[in-house]
Amino acid sequence: MKALINMLTRLGRGSLFLIKILAGIPQLFLRFNLVIRQVYSVGVQTLLIILVAGLFVGMVLALQLHYTLTTFGAEDTLGLLVDLSLVRELGPVVAALLFAGRAGSALTAEIGLMKATEQLSGLEMMAVDPIERIIAPRFLAGFLSLPLLAAIFSAVGILGGYMVGVDLLGVDSGAFWSQIQAKVDFYDDVLNGVIKSIVFGFIVSWIAVFEGYDCVPTSEGVASATTRTVVHSSLAVLGMDFVLTAIMFN
């Protein structure tokens, strides 16, 4: 019972915090270099892991699917299946999980340390709102970066699938692309995937900045907040993925 009340209190605090962040976002268009700096540390620094993971996920998909498809003599649909799996599911979800692990945890740790070293209090006493200057740019950067990262993940994954499928396993290159272009719908598949990654970017960034801002300002507090960010945002991404998939592809 007490745990439930605690959980609801945190949810409420998180929601109020989100409203404050959103209220601070219009201000950022006057100071867009703050956001650019954060896109660098949130997006650019996550790029490498996204590229490598995307490539390997695409290659493994092609290997696995090719094995099954040959038993039906349907190797030509390899490209289609790789593309659909990446664009609808794996791109947004795996990119969001990697993003939570790489960028979300870094955000929480950074904000938590700023709190522990009294930098946030210091800003408040300088009559500067830390939510406007510190939290909102990080939130916005995360929210903008994840859809781009997910698109890069899917694109690289498709190329990886092409390399394995066409160059290694001998699927016809023309069939690979023509099946994709005939059956993958831009609005139903690609756009819905992008919408998913926008939602995930929102959730992961929200959890990451909230955990940092709300942490107990000690070393242990920051450490456990960082862990919570990764666990909670991964679970939230997977849960939301189920909900969104049920809504979109029914």
Binding site: D83, S154, D189
Partner: protein, 157 residues
């Protein structure tokens, strides 16, 4: 210092947009949907089989459009299929036949248009009168068995 950050952010955003562009143009059907307008024709079928919205509309095997809407007319007990055909393929005679075929043995179903010889052309929002319904496998087998059975009955011993 800040300049190099700006540059790498620029590269990152550029790569993201390029990936989105690739997903749109190379890895989906967006490039095959031409942007210069469609015109609509409808056709009535007794049975549409497994036809779905977005199924292909083909002429001589070339995709010229897609199914936009499938409806059921409860007064005539027929399915009404509305198709979007690209503007540049608008030269169809009025006596064009619309049939529902299956690509391959177990593939997807599509609408095939076979142009006739009429001088007058189909207009936007008009209806194709000559149609042929989908073949349903169970019906075909049923008909085949039935005719076999009657053949055997008639056969002299």
């Amino acid at each position: 210092m800040f300049k190099s950050i700006e540059l790498s952010v620029g590269i990152f955003v550029g790569a993201g947009l390029a990936a989105l562009f690739m997903l749109a143009m190379q890895a989906s059907n967006l490039s095959s949907l031409s942007s210069d307008g469609f015109y609509e024709v409808s056709a009535r079928f007794d049975n549409i089989g497994g036809l779905r919205v977005k199924s292909a509309v083909k002429v001589s095997g070339v995709k010229v459009g897609q199914v936009k809407e499938i409806d059921y007319d409860s007064s005539t007990f027929e399915a009404v299929v509305t198709m979007q055909v690209e503007e540049k393929y608008s030269q169809f005679p009025r006596d064009t036949i619309a049939s529902i075929f299956t690509s391959g043995l177990l593939g997807e179903q599509y609408v095939a248009l076979e142009p006739g010889g009429d001088e007058k052309l189909l207009e936007n929002q008009s209806e194709i009168r000559l149609t042929q319904s989908a073949m349903v496998l169970e019906q075909l087998i049923g008909q085949f068995l039935f005719s076999k059975a009657s053949e055997e009955k008639d056969a002299p011993f």
